[in-house]
């Protein structure tokens, strides 16, 4: 019963923390688009929070290079359970055009467990809403 109430709460109220792992800002701007009046994801209870301690969902953008990979791992550990990770953009999913770069270390899903991959350069805001829905199917 309590579990049911909690799951309902989790589905209706997602606090999102935006972890930019050296992205080119393109995906980041599309994420900000989500919160702006046109898409307004607060309708669904999705709110951007400023501390990983408050977060339920980690949005990772960009390639995890030698500098950001350990920090991303630490950030993931700071989020209280249960937590979801969404990799946003082709860079986060597969390193995209930076895979031959000198400072490319390892893909993001080898640093932290990723729940949903969302390719695109950048993905559309509608696709991001869909990704959150896909991530929510994992709750229960």
């Amino acid at each position: 019963m309590l579990k049911k109430i909690f799951n309902w709460g989790l589905k209706k109220s997602l606090f999102v923390y935006h972890a930019g792992a050296s992205a080119c800002n393109n995906c980041d701007i599309e994420i900000i688009d989500l919160l702006a009046p046109r898409h307004d994801v607060e309708r669904f209870g999705i709110v951007l929070v400023c501390s990983p301690r408050h977060a339920d969902v980690l949005l990772v953008t960009g390639v995890a290079n030698r500098q950001t990979a350990p920090r991303l791992k630490r950030l993931y550990e700071e989020v209280p359970k249960p937590k979801l990770v969404i990799a946003i953009g082709s860079c986060a999913c597969s390193a995209h055009m930076f895979r031959d770069s000198y400072n490319y270390n390892q893909p993001i899903d080898q640093v932290i467990p990723v729940d949903v991959y969302l390719p695109g350069c950048p993905p559309k805001p509608e696709a991001m809403i869909n990704a959150v829905l896909k991530a929510l199917e994992k709750v229960r």
Partner: protein, 292 residues
């Protein structure tokens, strides 16, 4: 317990009104009515994390202190409004003291969390209390002077006989001052300096997660109900049939101030409260002494 449940439900609904009106003002749709309940339900079920090296007892005890104080204030305010003869000498002073406890809880919790940003938030919260408390007490005592009683029941009874406090000149001035002060007490925008999202990343609450954060949010939500009700009691004739209209009016004023102003720096906030606001509060006090 009924007092707690009532204030909590009303407070959460009040924060929903706040979020919805904010959204409408920004040409957004805004969250559904159950949003604050979902937030609290979710946070209560999450993992509690205590930062390394933080004092466990103080870190987790501080939110409960604030919640206990707010529950007590809410129960007292409503009991005394409904049963006016139950007033005891100095209940208004007890209320003023208890209303500083939620801010103190934020300071204690933030200081225990061992985070530099939280420490900065705590120091700002402390300065903010120092800034607004004098004008708040002046505004409240203008009402006391006007009605000639320290009892909440007495103040409500006086207004039932002699008309609302706000209709007199000194009462109107005191209401204005008190409105600005509850803005700061609620941590609403021009004075949300302790938790400034952009610079302090949540400030005082940065290390809180799960149930402890839920308790802090609940405390804040209950303040959204209690502080406007206190203003209604002191200036607008207490809790009667028209209470909901008066309450919504005060809440709307708070939300409008919140949405039309940028955040002040802490030094600007202190200068604002110790300068113009205190002077205006003193003028109101003097007018009340002169019988206006």
């Amino acid at each position: 317990m009924p007092g707690f449940l009532f204030t909590a439900v009303m407070g959460l609904l009040a924060t929903w009104v706040d979020r919805k009106v904010t959204a409408r003002l920004q040409y957004r749709v805004g969250p559904p009515w159950f949003q604050p309940f979902a937030d609290v339900a979710k946070l209560l079920g999450k993992e509690t994390m205590v930062p390394e090296g933080a004092s466990r007892l103080v870190f987790l005890g501080a939110p409960l202190l604030g919640l206990a104080a707010v529950t007590f204030v809410g129960t007292m305010l409503w009991t005394l409004n409904v049963d006016r003869s139950a007033s005891f000498v100095g209940d208004l002073i007890v209320l003023i003291y208890l209303l500083t406890l939620p801010s103190l809880a934020v300071i204690i919790g933030a200081s225990a969390s061992r985070n530099p940003l939280a420490a900065l938030g705590a120091s700002r919260e402390m300065k903010l209390i120092l800034a607004y408390e004098l004008s708040f007490i002046l505004a409240v005592f203008t009402v006391v002077l006007k009605t000639g009683t320290l009892l909440i029941g007495g103040i409500v009874n006086y207004q039932a006989v002699h008309g609302l406090t706000i209709t007199s000149l000194s009462g109107a001035i005191a209401f204005l001052v008190a409105l600005l002060v509850i803005q700061a007490k609620l941590g609403a925008v021009p004075f949300d300096i302790p938790e400034a999202e952009q610079e302090l990343a949540g400030g005082a609450f940065i290390e809180y997660s799960g149930p402890a954060l839920a308790v802090f949010r609940l405390t804040r939500a209950m303040l959204y109900f209690i502080l406007p009700s206190l203003l209604v009691t002191l200036f607008l004739g207490g809790i009667d049939v028209w209470f909901i209209v008066k309450y919504i009016a005060v809440l709307t004023l708070v939300i409008l101030i919140k949405n039309t102003n940028p955040r002040l720096r802490i030094d600007q906030a202190i200068r604002f409260f110790w300068g113009p606001v205190t002077v205006v509060a003193m003028i109101g006090f003097a007018l009340a002494l002169a019988g206006w």
